[in-house]
């Protein structure tokens, strides 16, 4: 007598194979992604640093950019005249942020003073409205311009160097440039 086992109608086997294949693909993809993480290129900021793009208020961002321009101009004037220009000289040339104009008022109304010690210069701006923009220091020593911020109507320490500023709670503003993130 001939006997034949007939599998009942259904798609269990096909479903099983499809699920297995899908599982295999997911596992392979997961392993590949796990093994190739995007390299962390950004060095974390030090405690005494603050990022210009994410850490500053709108007014501080404007002042920071202006101070970068001013640093170049001050260096050029110092070379031409043989002495450091006083904040009043810079204001007379309408050089922001030293000029006492409508934008200076809107961005914290800073009062600027110059301190010279040794070969380095420090232009300190005392903020009248720290909630709009903190007090700032433009430090010009041998290492190029450094711009420091403290969100208080507070004069900088007597010794104006990086270590003293950092110890007194000031933060150095840093900005990063990555060419063509969108390219």
């Amino acid at each position: 007598m001939h006997q034949q086992i007939v599998r009942r109608a259904g798609a269990e086997r096909e479903t099983l194979w499809v699920l297995l294949a899908a599982g295999l693909i997911l596992a392979t993809a997961g392993t590949a992604v796990g093994l190739r993480p995007a390299p962390e290129t950004d060095a974390p900021l030090a405690l005494h640093q603050i990022d210009s793009r994410t850490g500053l208020t709108a007014a501080e961002q404007g002042l920071h950019a202006d101070l970068k321009v001013a640093a170049d101009e001050i260096a050029a004037l110092r070379k031409a005249d043989g002495r450091a220009p006083a904040p009043a000289d810079l204001a007379a040339q309408a050089l922001p942020p030293f000029a006492a104009d409508a934008s200076a008022t809107a961005r914290g109304g800073h009062a600027w003073t110059l301190t010279e010690s040794g070969g380095s210069l420090a232009y300190a701006g005392l903020s009248a409205a720290p909630e709009t923009a903190g007090s700032l220091v433009l430090l010009l020593d041998g290492h190029g311009p450094g711009i420091w911020l403290k969100r208080a109507a507070e004069a900088p320490p007597a010794r104006l160097d990086e270590a003293s500023l950092a110890a007194a709670g000031w933060k150095r503003i840093t900005s990063t440039f990555t060419a063509g993130v969108t390219r």
Binding site: R53, Q61, S103
Partner: protein, 312 residues
């Protein structure tokens, strides 16, 4: 059958369009710069003005895109790529406004062309709207629409071009300083007109997220940006949301853009009753050395007018 014939003819025409300029390039060599006068390429209108003022008559400035193309929607063409072969260097925005340039240089006969990254020294702001992705790494590429951003870029361009053309480096630096001083004067003149205006703080919205750098110089902050991306009109739902946001924030002034008329901008004005002013994006018209100063001066006038008219 006729469909296939047409398609064949279309393919032939397409191939000819791609091949002809390449053969023309072989026939007429453009790669050799004349004498020792360098040829510097630029991608956008403001950069033409910068480089033309830095170089004076000591170098030639070559726009690689013909005037009349919108840089937001430009697609490289063979004849533009061909032009890159004759350059000594190219000055780039490099942060999102001329992303097409990298591909064009790679496809040109000078794939190793030195590129000057004009924004290398500019403190960049984050991108606005939907472009603010990639964990804050995408920046607002409109640093040229401000005086400070321009002065920083002019200094960088002059320094880098001086390295590539040492014989003229001093002239480039001197020209850059004189040009920067003129640019700073534009801003000083505008601020002088606000001197007696008292409190000039404004709550501002912009249609296109391009004017953050400019407004920062006047102590203004943008409360809302309408366009989800440049040239992309907001959907009705997005528009309704923007109008609600503007009412909530009590926005006083909206800055739109010249040369980009859009029906929805009028809708916003009608619905909110907020005053509307238009800035120039400086991406239209012929390339000219004084274009940036002219257009920026007009932008300053617009801004001053808006600030004066919004006074309580």
């Amino acid at each position: 059958m006729s469909f296939f014939l047409n398609r064949r003819r279309f393919l032939a025409a397409t191939l000819a369009a791609g091949v002809l300029p390449a053969s023309a390039r072989a026939a007429a060599p453009t790669a050799a710069p004349t004498a020792d006068r360098k040829r510097f390429g630029v991608t956008l209108h403001p950069y033409y003005s910068y480089v033309a003022n830095i170089a004076g008559d000591r170098a030639e400035v070559v726009p690689i895109i013909p005037a009349g193309f919108n840089p937001h929607a430009y697609e490289p063409r063979p004849e533009d790529i061909q032009r890159i072969g004759g350059l000594d260097a190219i000055v780039l925005n490099g942060i999102g406004h001329d992303d097409f340039a990298g591909r064009m240089i790679a496809a040109s006969s000078r794939p190793t062309l030195p590129a000057v990254e004009a924004n290398a020294d500019v403190p960049l702001l984050p991108a606005a709207g939907s472009a603010a992705r990639a964990s804050g790494k995408v920046v607002n590429p409109h640093s040229f629409l401000s005086i400070t951003g321009s002065v920083l870029q002019v200094a960088t361009i002059a320094r880098e071009l001086g390295k590539l053309d040492p014989a003229n480096a001093d002239a480039y630096t001197a020209n850059a300083r004189a040009y920067s001083r003129r640019l700073r004067q534009l801003r000083a003149d505008a601020l002088a007109r606000l001197a007696s205006a008292g409190d000039t703080r404004l709550r501002v919205a912009t249609i296109h997220g391009a004017y953050d750098y400019l407004l920062r110089e006047f102590g203004l902050e943008v409360s809302a940006v309408v366009e989800p991306a440049h040239g992309i009109e907001p959907s009705p739902a997005q528009l309704a949301e923007t109008i609600a946001t503007m009412r909530k924030l009590d926005v006083q002034v909206i800055f739109s853009e010249l040369n980009f008329p859009s029906a929805y901008v009028e809708t916003i004005r009608r619905e909110t009753g907020i005053r509307l002013y238009a800035f120039s994006h400086i991406s239209h018209g012929d390339y000219a050395a004084d274009l940036f100063e002219r257009e920026m001066s007009r932008n300053m006038d617009t801004l001053v007018q808006a600030m004066l008219e919004a006074r309580p």
